[in-house]
């Protein structure tokens, strides 16, 4: 095992898959000469050359579509969005192109490709650069959506995403790139659509993904000191959602809080809450609670931004609420 950053774990996944399969290529803004806007593609141009590590103009819709076309012609493109915010100008290619091609061609054209890049808020980047768009993509049949929280998950899931025969939306946490974790020295993959338990507990089930897992684990630590035991569950893949372990946990704890960085309205947490009440209604001792980003565009001012972001304090309050402690 080695202690490496989330960024390096992603870099290893890309490198290993590029070595493994000559049809895999990486395309996007600044992925080559610049070594990646967030250095995820560092060193790849030097190893694989400009044919496979392709710098593009700033033309997200164009190169997203180039990826879909290349996939139709038998390649396995990895399309980097410098951030997911910029994917909104490419969403026609992702939703009308990548997601639907297999279906509307009657099964003839698989689209084995990955759209990847950082999502979520960082620090004071304001409204257009601080969005968590997983709910947008997770609502589309034909897409798979992955949002890993640790270096171990990031590497294993990205490798699986690249090998997957469907288009995968791979959302990295912008503020997770520098976070460290143990990653095995030997090769491994993690299948898409398998939920993971990040912390065992007995009193309340907390569902979180991507960097919200960090918030959940912090809150769980604080609550443990008060004698409250949280089970932190990370679905890792938001579509397809492996809700079995979530339901199993709720059947044990009888309480559920779902944490989501994105907006509350029609969020992924709303979908999970629906599935939990549908599958474990009789086991619930309290209404399901959600802690989400607030329902506003992200403000720039530091104090306001802190108010918008889900925090351990807000999660703790929600946990206490479902335990009827306040």
């Amino acid at each position: 095992m080695a202690l490496i950053t989330y960024r390096d774990a992603l870099n290893q996944a890309l490198r290993e898959e590029l070595r493994r399969d000559p049809t895999v290529f990486l395309m996007g803004e600044e992925v080559g000469v610049y070594q990646g806007a967030y250095k995820v593609s560092k060193g790849l141009l030097q190893e694989f050359g400009p044919q496979r590590i392709v710098d593009t103009p700033i033309t997200e819709e164009g190169f997203a579509g180039v990826g879909v076309g290349a996939a139709m012609a038998g390649l396995r493109p990895i399309i980097e969005m410098m951030t997911w915010n910029f994917s909104l100008v490419a969403i026609d290619q992702i939703v009308n192109g990548a997601a639907k091609m297999l279906y509307m061609s009657g099964g003839q054209f698989k689209i084995p490709m990955v759209f990847r890049g950082p999502g979520g808020a960082a620090h004071q980047l304001a409204a257009q650069h601080s969005q968590s768009l997983e709910a947008w993509y997770a609502s589309v049949p034909g897409l798979k959506v992955v949002a890993p929280s640790t270096p171990y998950d990031a590497k294993g899931l990205l490798k699986s995403a690249i090998r997957d025969d469907d288009p995968v939306i791979f959302m990295e946490g912008e503020t997770l790139y520098g976070s460290k974790g143990e990653v095995p020295d030997e090769e491994y993959t993690i299948p898409l659509g398998v939920t993971d338990v990040k912390r065992r507990g007995t009193d309340v089930t907390v569902v979180a993904w991507s960097k919200m897992v960090t918030v959940a684990l912090k809150a769980a630590e604080t609550l443990a000191a008060e004698g409250i035991s949280c089970e932190v569950i990370d679905p890792r893949t938001l579509r397809p959602l492996d809700d079995g372990p979530i339901l199993e946990s709720v059947r044990k704890t009888n309480r559920c809080v779902i944490l989501e960085e994105g907006w509350p309205y029609a969020g992924v947490s709303a979908q999970i809450a629906y599935q939990v009440q549908q599958g474990a209604f009789g086991d619930l001792d309290a209404p399901i609670a959600r802690v989400t980003g607030l329902d506003v565009p992200m403000p720039y001012a530091k104090n306001l931004e802190h108010m918008v972001m889900p925090s351990p304090a807000r999660l703790i309050a929600a946990v206490r609420e479902v335990l009827y402690l306040d």
């Binding site: 190169f63 076309g69 038998g74 509307m104 003839q108």
Partner: protein
Amino acid sequence: MTTLAIPEHVSRQLAATPKAQLVDMLYQMLLGRRYEEKCAEMYALQKIGGFCHLYIGQEAVAIGALSTLRPDDLIITAYREHVHALVKGCDPGRVMAELFGRRDGVSRGKGGSMHLFDKEKGMLGGHGIVGGHIPLATGTAFAAKYQQKEYVTLCFFGEAAVNIGTFHESLNMAALWKLPVVYIVENNRFGMGTAIERSSAIYDVAQRACAYDMASETVDGMDVLAVRDVIGRAVDLARRESQPTLIEARCYRFMGHSMSDPVHGHYRTKEEVEGHKQQDPIKQYFEHLKAAGLATQALLEELDQKARAVTEQAVQFAEASPEPSADELYQDVYAEPYGPFTRSEQ
């Protein structure tokens, strides 16, 4: 009686093209015409649903362009694509079955009129969002270069699509990266009901290639041999030098934008449409062949009968094909088996 001078491209193409192919092109044009007329009939009978955009009047573009291709070349088109699919080799019965929404359709009844796909024949759709497919063609051309394969991609779209971002993004990348693709603007003068003069700041669409330092040509899209001549050069350039070209083929649709639209009305007059019908591409081509001694009225009638018979057989095939079964509903959403989204939805 006056004798018109034969244009140079006509004599060149008539001399260079095998007679069988010249005759086959006439047949393809007739098939396209009869097939689309039948589609209009089937639409009126509600055998075909949804949006249905007919190609009548524009046949010279698809037939001329596709006559220059090898079987391994690819085409990607917008939604007025029934004839492109037939000419690329899709089975007429399976295309009609698709229009009918039947299981034996080329897209298994999941695509319909706007989404005809046939991987084996190099028909990559059939796309419904104006301009949305242009980057896909750029992508298949990227893949050809990446894999060091010699196939060329032809990308067809209307003149209205040149005002959307994907057109410019694609031409920029194709020129920057020297990709083997030919972008063919079928300029039928109207984006639905908006004339090009009311939508484009410049009239000469081909000039837009200048912005990307890309080769371009304008061609009479009602003249199948002119189209063949010009696209042939562009395909050569793509195959031999991996260079893209923008072709503007000036044509005219004799029908409304879709089956829901009138042939003429607020945006164009009946006289205008009738005037263009005098330039019917099939008649023009037949006259060229006849003048060169390559076709007779009897041959024309024979080919027309064959086109009508093939169309009729296509309808019979489609009629006989079953509707897709309910268990196909969730098929091909993903590459692996997939069912209703959650357990609780079942």
